[in-house]
């Protein structure tokens, strides 16, 4: 359990328009949904109706892309007010957004733009996260981004920055293990160091997703199945956090609901194994994981992987 007592919601998937009819018609056996906040603000039409209907049956978490936590424009309190109202309306279990900025000078680029990791950024971002959490009256949950550039002005690693941010602002963390993998490839660091350095008691949720490997770099496309290396990172994270709310993101070339749900359900085995290891192993002495089978399923004796 995390220090905020946010519950383990189990295995969920991102709520996407193409699955609305299936969910409303069949009420599938799934633990929870994550909804993209901005899709449900300023709308009184079908999206809001669908979200409210689904929220009557399933736990909902709100996940945003426009909070611009690291931005240097003033905090948009109009946005936060609407977000807070939405969260109350659907009984959101928590609210998350990204460690990034999305635009300056009043503009929104609608991208999760990277931060330089240094003391100035840390002080600036931590102060904003505190203000945002106070306004929302709940600890904000901050997700590590995927990124394609590193700045010359950075003086610390992303994981050190994230850990310091969490400590200084008392926020929760949404650990996106696919983002860790993507950034580790693009920037050339060991992703296990990242996972091992994260303050486990602040991890409220984990994200899983697929990506596109272009050889020279990886783009975080959310348009594919999770690769083995990311599953391994997930298992490693679970060994540190214990059971943790886990969500599969699929945002482009989205297959049918059952395919996305089945991919998400693969997490159960890794989660259980990680949970078995939780409490036995500390983050600093987890051994490197063996490669898993090509179809991403843990082997029958997979427990041996973790002990």
């Amino acid at each position: 359990m995390n220090r905020f007592n946010f519950p383990d919601l189990g295995i969920g998937i991102g709520l996407r328009t193409v699955h609305y009819a299936h969910i409303l018609d069949t009420q599938p056996d799934i633990d929870w949904f994550e909804a993209l906040s901005e899709n449900y603000l300023d709308t009184g039409g079908r999206p809001r109706y669908v979200l409210e209907t689904i929220a009557e049956r399933y736990p909902i978490v709100l996940h945003g892309v426009s909070m611009s936590i690291g931005g240097t424009d003033p905090i948009d309190f109009d946005y936060l007010r609407k977000l807070k109202e939405l969260a109350r309306g659907v009984n959101a279990r928590w609210i998350s957004d990204h460690l990034c900025w999305t635009g300056v000078s009043g503009r929104n680029v609608h991208d999760l733009l990277p931060m330089p990791y240094n003391e100035e950024s840390l002080r600036h971002t931590a102060a904003r996260v505190r203000v945002i959490s106070d306004f929302l009256e709940t600890p904000l949950v901050v997700e590590n981004p995927s990124s394609y550039v590193e700045f010359a002005t950075s003086t610390m690693t992303e994981w050190d920055f994230l850990a310091a941010l969490a400590a200084e602002s008392d926020c929760g963390l949404l650990l996106d293990v696919n983002n860790i993998y993507v950034s580790s490839f693009n920037h050339g660091f060991d992703p296990t160091m990242y996972v091992d350095a994260i303050p486990a008691d602040r991890v409220v949720q984990v994200h899983l997703a697929g990506h596109a490997n272009h050889g020279t770099h990886i783009i975080d496309t959310h348009d594919n199945f999770v690769i083995d290396e990311v599953w391994q990172l997930y298992g490693r994270a679970c060994a540190r956090t214990g059971n943790v709310s886990t969500l599969m993101e699929w945002d482009s070339d989205i297959p049918d609901f059952e395919t996305v749900h089945a991919e998400a359900r693969k997490a159960v085995a890794f989660r259980d194994l990680g949970n078995a290891a939780f409490g036995v192993l500390s983050g600093s002495n987890i051994k490197p994981l063996r490669r898993l089978t090509p179809d991403s399923r843990p082997p029958q004796d997979a427990k041996a992987v973790y002990v």
């Binding site: 300023d42 039409g45 948009d76 010359a152 693009n186």
Partner: protein
């Protein structure tokens, strides 16, 4: 290496990422060299790394507007529409936390452009924008279809109507709705000059288009601007130099009530 502070770094990066040219032109236009701000990776030079964000920015803008303006995109062709979006976002970049508002000024941008067929294209854009707005408007239950029938005859003229929020009235110089419908039906259609009138509304979370005659459009316009039935009849008479036909009025109110265009009716005291 640059020792850019956070705020100027963000301004620098935004300027490069949103530059309308390619990333090399963006880098040339930037006040500080890319190599001073961004580190290379083992496989990519700094400008290639920034180029990932630069390339994705315009793709995202185009994809967002293609979704909102599907028929306009088809009518113009993808390449021409992409070019239009490149120009548009230089004048009207997103200033909202949602991409849903990005296209709000595209119809006026087209109308003021030098595009061939700009009047027709602006008509089509206004139709698709109205559909987007109606889709997102606040929900309000329509009044009962027989609500008017419950009003005593001597009070009918004093009736005022509150429209549902998800209702827009549109006038076109071209047959924009016909072209839109032809796209939906997967059949060809040519733009034809000639005024047309349309109500776009939502019912049970579905968006509908209701073609109107000029007379019906005018009368409905009077009502949703707050005129009572009696006042709307007088305005109609002044505009068309005749009274509305009783059968027309009956048909209009039947159609509008069945479509759920009104949320409520009221009788004002001074007109009772």
């Amino acid at each position: 290496m640059s020792d850019l502070a956070l705020a100027p770094l963000q301004k620098w990066m935004q300027a490069v990422v949103t530059h309308p040219g390619d990333v090399y032109e963006a880098a040339e236009a930037a006040a500080i060299g890319v190599d001073s701000v961004v580190l290379p990776s083992k496989t990519l030079q700094p400008i290639q790394r920034v180029g990932i964000y630069h390339g994705m920015y315009m793709l995202r803008m185009i994809e967002a507007l293609e979704a909102d303006y599907e028929v306009l995109t088809y009518t113009m062709g993808g390449h021409a529409f992409g070019h239009l979006v490149r120009e548009y976002v230089q004048h009207f970049p997103s200033r909202s936390y949602t991409l849903n508002r990005l296209g709000d000024r595209l119809p006026e941008f087209i109308a003021s452009s030098t595009l061939k067929r700009k009047t027709f294209l602006a008509d089509l854009a206004r139709l698709e924008l109205a559909m987007t707005h109606v889709f997102e408007e606040a929900e309000a239950a329509p009044m009962a279809a027989d609500a008017i029938a419950a009003v005593t005859p001597e009070r009918i003229e004093s009736l005022r109507f509150t429209p549902i929020p998800a209702l827009r009235l549109l006038t076109f110089a071209y047959n924009a709705n016909d072209v839109f419908q032809a796209f939906r039906d997967e059949r060809p259609a040519e733009p034809r000059r000639g005024k047309s009138w349309l109500a776009v509304h939502r019912r049970d979370y579905g968006v509908y288009r209701m073609p109107l005659s000029q007379e019906a459009f005018s009368f409905l316009g009077f009502l949703i601007s707050g005129e009572s039935i009696g006042s709307a009849i007088m305005k109609f008479a002044r505009r068309f130099r005749r009274m509305p036909e009783q059968q027309d009025l009956f048909n209009w109110f039947r159609d509008w009530s069945e479509a759920g265009l009104f949320a409520a009716i009221a009788i004002t005291e001074q007109e009772r």
